[in-house]
Amino acid sequence: MSRPVYLDYAATTPVDPRVAAAMAQCLTAEGDFGNPASASHEYGEAAAARVAKARAQVAAAVGAEPQDVVWTSGATEANNLAIFGVAEYYREQGRHIVTARTEHKAVLDPCRELERRGWRVTYLVPDAGGILRPEQIAAALQPDTVLVSIMHVNNEIGVIQDIAALGAICAAHGAWLHVDAAQSVGKCAVAFAEFGVDLMSLSAHKVYGPKGVGALLLSGRGRAEKVHLRALQFGGGQERGMRAGTVATHQVVGMGLAFEMAAPAAPEESQRIAGLREQLWQGLAGLGGVFRNGDPRHSVPHVLNVSFADVEGESLLAAIRGQLAVSTGSACTSALQEPSYVLRALGRDDQLSESSLRFGLGRFSSETDIETAVAVVGGAVTRLRRVGGR
């Protein structure tokens, strides 16, 4: 039986075969399997050299310097390290944080935890298209605001925030700016230093690299002072004490190569994918009662998020699942599906927030995939509306 068409690249991507091959070279006895912290022999040195190369590759792909890179187990850890790290390090300077309702849980949940510990958090509400105006951020800053955490590309609806504008505002105010860029690399330009960002979270598995590895970029360029952190985990002193734990050579090597490959491919790939997304949107729009979520003028081409009137979300997913792999707003953690909090923040009602599909397009998506998607979703929507009497 053939597998469903995969259109869930925003959840995770397959690893590029070249990346998989590079990872394999760091695993077995014939390869560079040493512990990069083992300075006393050439197995360790060979691994350390691979790690150094990966660090340079990641930095180059996002306009950063190799020494800005702190390896983590993914963007979740990077977000947590940035938010707790800055909050706890600067706790005597102020306990107010600014973020947005449409952030990923890996930003919102650490913020909630900080509220529990006595911090105040302002959750900005974007416009109906998902966009934050820089003036909103400026207005939210308070004398004791230490951190602003705003994502670059939204994982559910694909909209892009104007990070450079935020960078200038935060720098002027003296608050550190953290950007969750887990969904950005390979999809739109990421320029860490140029944007004036202080901390940036990256993940490998959204861009044909392996799951379980990411990075936090740390810088203070343009500031008199470099941003400091309190670490989340302590131990062997790896990553200049900011993130203890054996660096997983194969993982960072995979991330480095994936990031290196992402940059040159991006413009061409993005154009092709924009075409596919348009094909998909046109096909679905023909059904009627179909609403596009997120401002398409400020979006990466890789994501199309659509709400369907008069269709129940779980039934929609169930009706297509054998043929199409897509996501609803957020992964359901219980048997009961909940409306996407991101779409709710955009002002969508419960029914439309809950009957959305997120199509994530990627490197291996084809026109045929899109034709299948349109046919399958069209069939399911039509049938479910009929069963529902609409």
């Binding site: 129940e312 039934s315 169930a318 699942r321 359901c332 048997a335 009961l336 599906q337 009497g389």
Partner: protein, 132 residues
């Protein structure tokens, strides 16, 4: 998101989906689309026996499947008998038995009560109209 074979089958085929036409059709509904679940049954009664039944449903796969099954299995039921008994006997099978048969997760069992309410409403409508 896993459904047992029966749920999958009745969700996919929904054999009794639709409405019945005519003046001898009795209709009952329950739930709200805005709240995620809405069910409607149409019944045609002849000599006190349900001769045919159809359903409409806005809801999750379990709700659709159970509604479809109820409309299918309800045919042949004697209207008075179903209504005379306690409400738990109005359906072809109790809510608990249905939730087992269709492997409905605990959190979702409240939705079966909406099906039951819609079914009873249709029965009552029939009883009221045929009593005239």
């Amino acid at each position: 998101m896993n459904y047992n074979a029966l749920t999958q089958r009745y969700f996919d085929a929904a054999p009794t989906a639709g409405v019945l036409e005519g003046t001898d059709v009795h209709r009952g509904a329950s739930g709200h689309r805005a709240q995620g679940t809405w069910v409607q049954f149409d019944l045609r009664i002849d000599a006190g026996i349900i001769r045919s039944a159809r359903f409409l449903c806005f809801g999750c796969p379990h709700t659709i499947a159970v509604s479809a099954w109820v409309a299918e299995q309800g045919v042949g039921t004697a209207l008075r008998a179903a209504l005379r008994a306690a409400s738990r006997a109005a359906l072809p099978e109790s809510v608990l038995d249905l939730s087992r048969r269709f492997a409905v997760p605990v959190e979702k069992r409240g939705r079966l009560l909406i099906i039951e309410d819609a079914w009873i409403a249709a029965l009552r409508c029939a009883a009221a109209q045929t009593a005239h």
